[in-house]
């Protein structure tokens, strides 16, 4: 009689093996997210209660990281002027893959109260891909925590593909960046 405890190993194709490894990788990635906080606007004030004992985001496995090259999540907290957008694109391109972006507040969605400003962009996802948005002006801390849980779910369901879109649609993103900024390269007194 054939044993029910033992199943014959099935030879997997390379694609299936890669998928398995990605699933294992995603499990560890979503449970250990290191975030880079790009605190451009007022929504950054929601991060201290989210990080400290009030909401304690470390129970989700999230922690702050100081440098872009080691970080997994880029938090864009609030409005982005053209000047900060240049630095943000630099920062985003320095991050190692896979990388995710969370946009905070209505400013990153449609410009918010700065929709008519000459210096502030209206939609962040025209310039870099955004995986998860936290709406509100400003969002309360529960919404911020919910946004992080949403991001973890997106990674689990393989829908956090912003960094892949940045490769496939790179020409479109670059065109939008150049339309808004003229030139992405930073030319100020510290970069001369």
């Amino acid at each position: 009689m054939e044993s029910t405890k033992y199943t014959q190993p099935v030879a997997l194709s390379k694609k299936q093996v890669d998928r398995k490894w990605w699933e294992i990788g995603d499990f560890f990635r979503r449970n250990s997210l290191w975030m880079l906080m790009y605190c451009t606007g007022c929504c950054a004030i929601e991060l201290p209660p989210a990080m400290t004992s009030a909401y304690d985001m470390e129970r989700l496995g999230m922690g702050p990281m100081a440098t872009p090259r080691q970080a997994d999540v880029l938090l864009v907290t609030g409005y982005l002027s053209l000047k900060t957008l240049r630095r943000l694109i630099y920062t985003y391109e320095q991050m190692s893959e896979p990388k995710y972006v969370v946009g905070f507040g209505s400013c990153t969605i449609n410009g918010g109260i700065y929709h008519d400003s000459h210096a502030v962009i209206n939609q962040l996802d025209q310039y870099i891909p955004v995986d998860s948005y936290v709406a509100g002006c400003m969002p309360n801390t529960e919404a911020v925590m919910n946004g992080f849980v949403d991001l973890i779910e997106l990674i689990k369901n393989k829908k956090a593909n912003g960094w892949k879109n940045y490769h496939t649609n790179n020409a479109w993103y670059k065109k939008n960046q150049i339309d808004a900024l003229g030139e992405v390269r930073i030319k100020d007194e510290f970069h001369q």
Binding site: N110, H115, D116, H118, N122, Q123, E183, K187
Partner: protein, 195 residues
């Protein structure tokens, strides 16, 4: 040394020697003098000798109807606590104001900002045409009153398009139609009007 004396001291100091178009005592800590353009440098260096040695701010105001810019210099004294504003009017079509860098060297960045935001030229400041806050700016200076920020934003940054499809969450009826009706009623009869 009390502060009313400070205001009197300043008034006598400035009004005796300079042609002051308008003096405004805002309160015991603030006083404003409007003088001719050529006298600004002399007045500022005299105030500096008297102890008003901190340049707190330098900016401009756009009076578009009179076709003039008003330059404002604010200086502060740490011994006699009065902010002194020196104001002067300059032509709006060809705005040129000599730099005050020989008197207050820290004005360098304020003048760069004023050049960027209003397009005022400051001969004497070697860096006044360098960009400071706005990078790669391609339009008229943005704080002039005839600049339209909404038009610039619409031209440069795409606006997000929305569909009016309101989601009915958890089987609850959307309140959006009621909200729109209420907004219309408020517009017609005011907040406390009858239904």
């Amino acid at each position: 040394m009390n502060s009313t004396n400070n205001v009197d001291f300043l008034k006598s100091l400035v009004e005796e020697k300079y042609k002051v178009n308008k003096t405004e005592v805002i309160d015991q800590y603030q006083i404003s003098f409007e003088v001719e353009q050529v006298e600004v440098h002399r007045l500022l260096s005299e105030l500096k000798l008297e102890g008003w040695k901190q340049l707190s701010y330098l900016s401009a105001i756009d009076w578009i109807d009179e076709n003039e810019f008003e330059m404002v210099y604010i200086v502060f004294n740490w011994d006699r606590p009065v902010h002194v504003q020196i104001r002067t009017r300059i032509d709006r079509d060809k705005p040129v104001m000599n730099s005050i860098m020989p008197i207050f060297e820290g004005c360098k960045y304020y003048e760069r900002e004023a050049h960027e935001m209003f397009g005022i030229k400051f001969p004497g400041n070697p860096d006044h045409e360098k960009q400071l806050v706005l990078e790669e700016w391609d339009d008229m200076p943005p704080l002039r009153k005839d600049f339209d920020p909404q038009a610039y934003s619409d031209r440069k940054f795409p606006v997000r398009e929305y569909n009016n499809d309101f989601v009915e969450l958890n089987g609850k009826k959307s309140k959006q139609k009621d909200r729109l009706k209420r907004a219309e009623r408020i517009e017609q009869v005011g907040k406390r009007g009858n239904k």
